[in-house]
């Protein structure tokens, strides 16, 4: 999926998925990041939704194709098909929903089972941090879990736009770094071959 573009409006094209339990605020995180909008009227996501955003990271233009997935367990087998080819994952829980925090382990297992987890970059996000009166998960618990799995961690608020851009930029930087490493590990002819293969594979795979 990752591709270095020639004479296009971006340098890299990458795929990111946003996952986590139902109702943790995935769609609002994405709306805030892509459209600077927050809405209390967002309906549940059925299946998947899609958004696109191009950002500048270290002087490079990175075009993010972001897939927002349904959180309900019943949609899991449908959304899993979108894991394939993802280079970045925003794994979200809600700080006012303890169960969503406890389910992070399950989501991580799901990433391991359905992606080439060595090449996938993750960010753990504890959303709804503005709702302090209803908080059920402390920041320390979030940090501890992220250290346990060695994943960067942000507490965010889609409502007040706290740490939303930071989370995506952190993810984007590490994706670029991984892509550059992969590029450096290959010699030039191999690199060309790999990129061509990548493009053809994307067409054949169709969805993701």
């Amino acid at each position: 999926m990752s591709r270095q573009a020639n004479s296009q409006d971006y340098d890299w094209l990458v795929k990111v998925i946003v996952i986590g339990d139902s109702g943790v605020g995935k769609t609002n995180i994405l709306s805030q990041f892509c459209d600077a909008k927050f809405s209390i009227t967002h309906m549940a996501t059925l299946g998947v939704d899609f958004k696109i955003k191009t950002i500048d990271v270290d002087g490079k233009k990175l075009k993010l194709q972001i897939w927002d997935t349904a959180g309900q367990e019943r949609f899991r087998n449908i959304t899993k098909t979108y894991y394939k080819g993802a280079q970045g994952v925003i794994l979200t829980y809600s700080v006012i929903d303890r169960q969503s925090f406890q389910n992070v382990d399950g989501w991580l297992r799901s990433i391991q089972e359905n992606t080439n987890s060595n090449d996938v970059q993750l960010v753990l996000v504890g959303n709804k941090a503005d709702m302090s009166a209803e908080r059920q998960v402390t920041m320390e618990e979030g940090q501890k879990l992220s250290q346990q799995y060695n994943i960067p961690f942000f507490e965010t608020s889609a409502k007040s736009n706290m740490n939303i851009n930071e989370s995506f930029h952190n993810l984007a930087q590490r994706i670029i770094s991984t892509l550059c490493k992969m590029q450096a590990n290959d010699d030039a002819p191999k690199l060309n071959l790999k990129q061509t293969e990548g493009k053809e594979k994307t067409k054949a795979d169709g969805c993701c």
Binding site: L46, V48, F50, G206
Partner: protein, 356 residues
């Protein structure tokens, strides 16, 4: 006779449980116009033949998930903008859903079924809406409530893709064909199928028009409506950049209320095309030829679908009537017929000249 008189006449027949064929034909062609008629006709079309006791029950096992979804529902319906009204409706919706799922613990709630129940409550009221939602769960939405979602949804969107590939090939529609060759998983149709468009549209009159059509049709008709929707609106999709096409396709169809992208839903054109597709591309034939398999228990197979079976048999008889067979033959062979007509006409002219 105006529409209301027409419907009133049809309703009199329906009261005596006759005249289903006429009312279904009317529903597919024109729709039932307003809530007054829908209230009476939908109950019949859903196959409700008994009164169910509506007693508010305790919280069901899926209460927490229901609460999350109900609390963010109904506010996209353009006709309901009053917060107090939304609050009251949500309370009713929550009670109805809790009652359904505590009385039917074998059903597994899926996100989207709450949209289905919302429409039934809005049109039929709370008590009738509860009965209708229970019947809809037992018939029209049964697959999604008692089977694994991916198993039942995946063959449906594969069917839609194959249908559009055939339609675009037969009509030499290069753009649609190019799109559907690339979009192997048209997952944007998932909310359309699971909620009969009630999750995706904001105008209740548009939603109800689609429901009028679907309640008067076969179980597989929703797939033809989805395909027709894509076929009618695909022209506005930008296909210049193949890298972006999958995302562009998803983004275009995931929000049907975005007036910048879809200014006019062209609903009657969509339903007209759905009717044509249904006649030209048989469901069973495509499934067989493309090896698309549904669960043996699936209600897409008519023998598993219990509601209003008598009507379905009569619908089949209607489709197989000589008049319809002749018109289908003429439609399918119009080139040959036109050529033969031309030859006959030239013979006639020559004959007239010679005779003169």
């Amino acid at each position: 006779m105006d529409n209301s008189q027409n419907l009133q006449t049809l309703l009199v027949n329906l009261e005596q449980d006759v005249g289903y064929e006429k009312i279904r034909k009317y529903g597919r062609t024109y729709g039932f116009h307003n809530i007054y008629f829908r209230k009476q006709i939908w109950i019949k079309l859903l196959g409700i033949d008994q009164q169910l006791q509506y007693n508010e029950s305790q919280k069901c096992l899926q209460h927490d998930q229901l609460l999350k979804d109900v609390n963010r529902s109904l506010n996209t319906i353009s006709q309901i903008k009053n917060f107090k009204e939304i609050d009251q409706l949500r309370k009713c919706l929550m009670e109805v859903l809790d009652t359904i799922f505590s009385q039917h613990p074998n059903y597994s709630y899926y996100q989207g079924y709450h949209d289905v129940v919302s429409i039934l409550i809005l049109v039929l009221g709370v008590e009738q809406g509860y009965i209708a939602a229970t019947y809809a769960a037992q018939n029209f939405f049964k697959d999604y409530l008692d089977q694994e979602l991916a198993t039942t949804i995946t063959p449906q969107y594969l069917f839609i893709r194959n249908l559009l590939l055939r339609y675009s090939r037969d009509n030499s529609n290069q753009k649609l064909r190019q799109i559907m060759l690339i979009i192997e998983h048209p997952t944007c149709v998932i909310p359309w199928i699971l909620t009969w468009f009630s999750h995706s549209l904001e105008n209740i009159n548009d939603i109800c028009r689609i429901w009028d059509f679907l309640l008067c049709s076969k179980q597989s008709t929703i797939l033809y409506v989805c395909a027709a929707f894509i076929a009618i609106h695909h022209d506005n999709i930008d296909v210049r950049n193949e890298d972006d096409l999958i995302g562009e396709f998803q983004e275009f169809f995931q929000n049907l209320n975005n007036k910048d992208r879809i200014q006019n839903l062209k609903l009657e054109m969509v339903l007209q095309l759905a009717r044509t597709l249904e006649t030209q591309y048989k469901f069973e034939l495509i499934c067989e030829q493309e090896h698309i398999q549904f669960s043996q228990k699936s209600i897409v197979y008519q023998h598993n679908f219990k509601s209003q079976l008598s009507y379905y048999y009569s619908l089949e008889q209607l489709e197989n009537s000589i008049k319809n067979k002749v018109s289908r033959f003429m439609y399918g062979n119009q080139d040959i017929i036109i050529n033969l007509g031309g030859i006959a006409l030239s013979f006639l002219i020559q004959y007239c000249i010679i005779k003169k």
